[in-house]
Symmetry: C2
């Protein structure tokens, strides 16, 4: 019952087709003390695998260094094609503080990892999100713009000097982004219409990009088999932009079109607090503290 | 990260005034491997202390046996007065399965404890709630009716033969109830009126006793300092009678009086699932699984 720090790491590797290579890349996360492989899911069209691992910070960092070494051996970006934008064999390595750990500690861990990885593998590394060393580098899309093929020119620009490693793209492994971020919550709200234009308009109204909620990314998506559409969101900081706030705002916007909200879904994992917070709002619970959650008291 | 079973135990002891005695009773729950003392709160008017402890089943059972021995030494029921109904020095010992543990296992643990306690201390023990050996004994209030003073006659009745121990009240320690139960959630809903009669009427409409929700006990309570009243509830099985259901039903009933629901409160601890369930309802999340809670995946 000690206060073990737990970090989550969700590396994205640029291989979604060759199962043998994928297993080799994932293998360093298996059978290690203090490291737990929660999930890995590949996408053939994206040609990419997303791994989810949790554990003690140093143990996760070491396993991640090992996996990066394997990925660099087995992936050659010169032959890589896929729908998802990408710039490196190890495209992005986010560290997420999930228990007994501050964001500052996660940033520190991401920088340790970035420094060691750049030295060991001679790959240029950009720090992003909370670890970013300039506002331009906070958004991963900004860093990745131009993708692998465009990096060879981009990296020569003084404003795109990498934070660690050589100012030269690794010939087969490209470049890597590393950073600390909040847990993402993939939260989709279903609308009682098949009109994708309505979902797109509502998405624009609730998302940060167009003047909506600060920690909300949103697009309209068609669920063709069900004949409905949804506002598909990434909630990038549920502690600041609560799930219920996005949900209620979508209901408000949907009214304009006379369209009902018919349900929602959460894809993948969600931190307990994001839903507790929502329950506390709807029940109007006064003075609630996360210390009142039985499970939080058992497992300190 | 092993699948450790965790039980909660919330014994009630009949001493709420003598701090020295209370410390002696609580002491066996301190500094033991596999046992964590979460809270103990005494009430002078009730002359009673309620202890909350969690941990590994056998370790909690052993500590509880030790604490019972101390309580029997320091409490003499012949001199006990207090507002809360009571029948023994160790009045009631509930075991609550909280993690990786079934109700069947908690019932088994409660029976092991009851058998050993009766043998060791020569105290008659009644099994109650989920451990009850007849429907009459499910409700603690039924067992306790007559209190300490009335037990000497009551225990002679064939239908009140104890489940363990002698068919004779312990002269100074009385009798004890032991059983397994679900976690209670103390959930109070505040009304925008100072009319206690309205709170009482709504309480009657939502509680099991008068035809309301099966796992809901409720009374009206005045919050004099705030000039409002509340429906004060014990939710006795949140997995069957969800918190949101009681909340929405109170809103429905309150409409009859033109009274708004102005907030709510949860007193003490609440299992995570009781609030997750509520969030899932209000957001209309489809196909949600508790396995999607990040914390549940980390700490298996």
């Amino acid at each position: 019952m000690a206060m073990t720090k737990i970090v989550e790491c969700v590396p994205n590797f640029s291989e979604g087709r060759d199962l043998e290579k994928i297993e080799k890349i994932v293998n360093p996360f298996r059978g290690k003390d203090g490291v737990k492989l929660l999930d890995y899911s590949r996408d053939v069209d994206h040609n990419r695998v997303v791994v989810t691992v949790v554990g003690e910070p140093q143990a996760v960092k070491e396993a991640m260094l090992e996996a990066m070494g394997v990925a660099i051996q087995v992936i050659d970006m010169r032959n890589h094609k896929g729908e998802h934008p990408r710039m490196g064999a190890v495209d992005v390595v986010p560290f997420i503080p999930v228990k007994n750990m501050t964001m500052t500690e996660a940033v520190e861990l991401s920088k340790e990892f970035a420094k060691e990885a750049a030295e060991r593998y001679n790959v240029p590394i950009f720090l992003y999100e909370k670890s970013a060393t300039s506002p331009d580098r906070e958004n991963l899309a900004n860093i990745r713009k131009g993708e692998f093929e465009g990096m060879f020119e981009k990296i020569k620009l003084p404003e795109w000097k990498p934070d660690f490693g050589p100012q030269e793209v690794h010939p087969t492994a490209g470049v890597t982004a590393v950073g600390a971020r909040m847990p993402l919550v993939a939260f989709n709200v279903n609308l009682g219409t098949n009109n994708i234009e309505i979902a797109n308009r509502i998405a624009r109204n609730v998302r940060f990009l167009n003047g909506g909620l600060r920690y909300c990314k949103a697009i309209g998506v068609e669920l063709k088999d069900r004949g409905i559409v949804q506002v598909s969101m990434n909630m990038t900081d549920y502690t600041k932009t609560a799930l219920y706030r996005a949900f209620e705002l979508i209901k408000v916007e949907a009214r304009r079109y006379g369209v009902p909200v018919v349900g929602s879904e959460i894809i993948g994992l969600v931190p307990m607090e994001a839903l507790i917070d929502t329950a506390v709002y709807y029940l109007g619970i006064e003075d609630f503290s996360m210390d009142q959650i039985l499970e939080n008291r058992i497992m300190e």
